[in-house]
Amino acid sequence: MDIPYTTQLREDTNLYNAKVGIWLFLASEVMLFGALFSSYILLRVGAPPGTFPHGLLNIPIGTFNTAVLITSSITVVMAWASLKMGNFGKFKFFQAITLLCALGFLTIKTFEYRDKFIHYEVWKNDGTRMTGHIEGNPWLWNTQTLSDKKLAAITFSPDAHHYAEPRKHDAEAKSDHGGHGAAVQIPAADIKRLSAFVPAHSTYFGIYFTLTALHALHVLGGAIVIGYLWGPGAKMWKTDPERFTNRIEVSGLFWHFVDLVWIFLFPVLYLL
């Protein structure tokens, strides 16, 4: 006996097997990201004052990335609709745009991450804090690096304002740190802690990187599956078009979920 209902819809549920499977899987993914969102809320509410940064992410870039994912969402459903109407060429076209959007999203995310790896915070022994850049924009320095490299001082270009200061709501708020001040020398002996905006910096960056990296992995995974079905997997259109169309629908459902997560991630991490 063959396994039934791989393409044919079962009478009482009106579903084919893979569609049941993907929705169940998406339910588990809701719980996964849900747990992380819950953790975000708890960590933010429980953070000692001044330790949960805000306004350090680039909003225009985040908005653009949001638009990129939304575009990919409509192209992925148009790709499926094209197959349903029997138009393989249009399917290839729309799906190619989906893949380009995925690539674009991941590329932009990479640049966003890099921006954080060269952006630092210094805690001095006298209790003051500064954020800014180190001369030469080295990657991922921390307190240990100062003694490893036997540095006497660092040349630091501080940002115009620190995230713990009261939030401003005008033109300054548009960029992520409001421009640079003049470079200063900070002796290593004065530095209590040095950290880039990496996961270890604070629970905010911990949860930011965890959420966005997990999301990015899902984008990558989805793109790989969609890419496979666009390339070598597309052979099935000739041998079993119904089953192939269903595969495009199922992978599209996953893709929409990935977009859904970002729809919540963007305001929560960038705006609130």
Binding site: M1, D2, I3, P4, Y5, Q8, R10, T13, L15, N17, A18, V20, G21, L24, F25, A27, S28, E29, M31, L32, F33, G34, A35, L36, S39, L42, L43, G46, A47, P48, T51, F52, T143, R193, S195, V198, P199, A200, H201, S202, T203, G206, I207, T210, L214
Partner: protein
């Protein structure tokens, strides 16, 4: 369900002409649910034995603290080194050091729960039996099924490998509470705890894939006439279990990722501000919450215990109906109860956290939901007990184990009540009372049901019975020794003996007259340990029986040697690839035994009505 297209007819005609797959495709990389079920079963039993051995070694240290382990002690030293195994006061090598005790404790729990019981109860029995019982040719997604076993196998390998990394295996309890889980091995990044988390991620992935498969299969692949209310209770139990795994595991996966980041990337998800370790502040940002880990862990942890028990209840139901020769009493109640248990199990979790400083309102909430969830559990047990009344009971080995399950689970369940009330739990939390409670539910509870299932379905998988005499020996010895192990622990716990103590409570001896545990309760450790070792010996006949019966067991006289009604007994023995030679149609409910007016004392579900 006749083939409706030329493609399907074409395939059906070729059914008998498949090339026989080679050894690797047939037994190792199989997509057949029966082979996968057996793979899960054998691997699970090996892990069950391994986890059991860890406990046997721990019990030496508990009963005879400070003495080197005889025979095995030197071997452990050679394998694990001097960090883990030391010399006792007499200079003999083989003393279990505290780190080793804690590793064995954490890994015993982890292995038993995630590598043994869940794979056997859910994945092994479920994979083998569920498609057969619903009249399906296989699971809905056979390749996903294979992937899920591979993930499980890899996860097991990672867990075993963790014993040999510097610092040894995870040693912060199977519950891996932060901050201890992060600071236990500050010297090493890739320590046992990291391996534990990676292993758990693999195991969780395996469970998620399996859960999707089970639910989709039960929804979509029921044979014609197999309506929801004609499903054997075993299938209902597996269906609810799959939902628990699907929705409860992901928060633990999220928490595991966060703890991994704490361990490897210096984050502070679960590390509070101002944490000091051996006198020095930990160089992390702080701001995290140890409570957050506990909430996320127990959000899985509680549904997990229902994952451990529901498949067992399903197995017991099948065997009770078959060996009382009457329908199970209260089928509808059973179905509704299992659905309610599944639902409620998601909102009781913090009864594991009563001592974390919760306020009265939230404690009351969890106490209330915990009390409510005991109701459907009692309903299920009561239905089983009532089912025995007026039955024509056959006392074969599977039935003995299934019968014993009832009072044993009863004891386990009832002793959970003082733990569910936050007031009494203040006294009993983290004592041996808790250990006794949950072992009663899982050991003479679930494991007995698993033994019952093995003896019961063995003839379908192999065509031979396991030996009845040695089965009964296995039963009686296991029952007696399990009770000798866990019964005294209730008393120890009520007297205040704390769990997870390296020396079995010997420390209390110094404080005996200052609210310490009276020596008499600590002395019980010796009796318990001896019973544990005897329990180990009692498994030897079972192990031999299991392997020898494959070739020397009494052959079955028919495909349905137990005269059972459910569909798995209406196939050839063992069932071929595709299970049913012709599509199945179901005409009646699953437990039509001793129906008045019929000539036979049972009617299979797929037997057409005689006109």
């Amino acid at each position: 369900m006749q083939p409706t297209t030329t493609k399907e007819t074409h395939h059906a005609a070729h059914e008998g002409h498949h090339d026989e797959p080679g050894f690797w495709r047939k037994y190792i990389f199989s997509t057949d649910h029966k082979i996968i079920g057996l793979q899960y079963g054998i691997t699970g039993l090996i892990f069950l034995f391994f986890g059991f051995c860890l406990m046997l070694l721990m019990r030496w240290q508990i009963a005879y603290p400070g003495k080197a382990i005889p025979v095995v002690g030197e071997l452990l030293y050679k394998l694990l080194g001097e960090e883990m195994v030391g010399k006792d006061a007499l200079g003999k090598i083989g003393l279990m050091l505290p780190d080793l005790y804690n590793s064995f404790g954490a890994m015993h729990g982890t292995i038993m729960v995630f590598l043994a019981i869940v794979p056997i109860a859910f994945a092994a029995f479920g994979n083998y039996v569920v498609p057969l019982q619903i009249g399906a040719p296989d699971m809905a997604f056979p390749r996903v099924n294979m992937a899920s076993y591979m993930c499980y196998f890899l996860g097991g390998v990672v867990m075993l490998a963790s014993f040999f990394v510097p610092g040894g295996a995870a040693k912060s309890g199977w519950t891996s509470y932060s901050p201890l889980a992060t600071v236990a091995d500050l010297g090493h990044h890739w320590d046992g705890q990291t391996f534990w988390i990676l292993g758990m991620v693999l195991l969780i992935t395996s469970s998620l894939l399996g859960a999707v498969n089970f639910i989709a299969t039960i929804i979509q692949l029921r044979a014609k006439g197999m309506t929801w209310m004609r499903l054997p209770f075993f299938v209902w139990a597996q269906f609810v279990t799959a939902f628990l795994l699907l929705l409860a595991f992901p928060p633990l996966e999220a928490a595991g990722v966060m703890q991994l980041m704490d361990n490897l990337f210096g984050t502070s998800f679960f590390l509070p501000t101002g944490l000091q370790v051996t006198g020095a502040p930990l160089p992390v940002s702080g701001g995290g919450s140890p409570l957050l880990w506990q909430h996320l862990f127990w959000f899985l942890g509680h549904p997990e215990v229902y994952v451990l028990i529901l498949p067992a209840m399903g197995i017991v139901c099948e065997i009770l109906a078959n060996n009382t020769r009457k329908p199970i009493w209260g089928y509808k109640s059973l179905v509704y109860s299992v659905l309610v248990i599944g639902f409620l199990s998601f909102i009781v979790w913090a009864h594991h956290m009563y001592l974390t400083g919760m306020g009265t309102k939230i404690a009351t909430f969890f106490q209330t939901t915990t009390m409510i969830i005991s109701i459907p559990s009692v309903i299920i047990l009561t239905c089983f007990f009532i089912s025995l009344w007026g039955g024509s009971i056959r006392f074969n080995t599977p039935m003995l184990f299934a019968l014993a399950f009832l009072p044993m689970f009863g004891i386990g369940g009832l002793t959970g009540l003082p733990l569910g009330f936050n007031y009494t739990d203040i006294h009993l939390h983290d004592t041996y009372y808790v250990i006794a409670h949950f072992h009663y539910v899982v050991a003479p509870g679930t494991i007995f049901a698993l033994f019952a299932g093995i003896y019961y379905w063995y003839p379908k998988a192999t065509g031979r019975f396991m030996n009845e005499f040695w089965g009964k020996v296995h039963f009686w010895t296991s029952l007696i020794f399990m009770n000798l192990i866990f019964q005294p622990m209730f008393a120890q716990g009520m007297a205040g003996l704390h769990r997870r103590m390296y020396d079995g409570g010997a420390t209390y001896a110094d404080a005996a007259n200052v609210l310490g545990v009276p020596q008499a309760f600590i002395d019980m450790n010796k009796g318990i340990s001896h019973a544990a070792w005897a329990l180990g010996l009692a498994q030897i006949p079972f192990i031999i029986n299991f392997f020898v019966s494959r070739t020397r067991g009494k052959k079955v006289a028919s495909d349905n040697p137990w005269d059972a009604t459910t569909l798995e007994w209406q196939t050839p023995t063992p069932p071929p690839h595709g299970n049913f030679p012709k599509p199945v149609e179901v005409y009646r409910s699953p437990y039509e035994y001793s129906v008045p007016g019929k000539s036979a004392d049972f009617t299979p579900q797929n037997e057409p009505e005689k006109r």
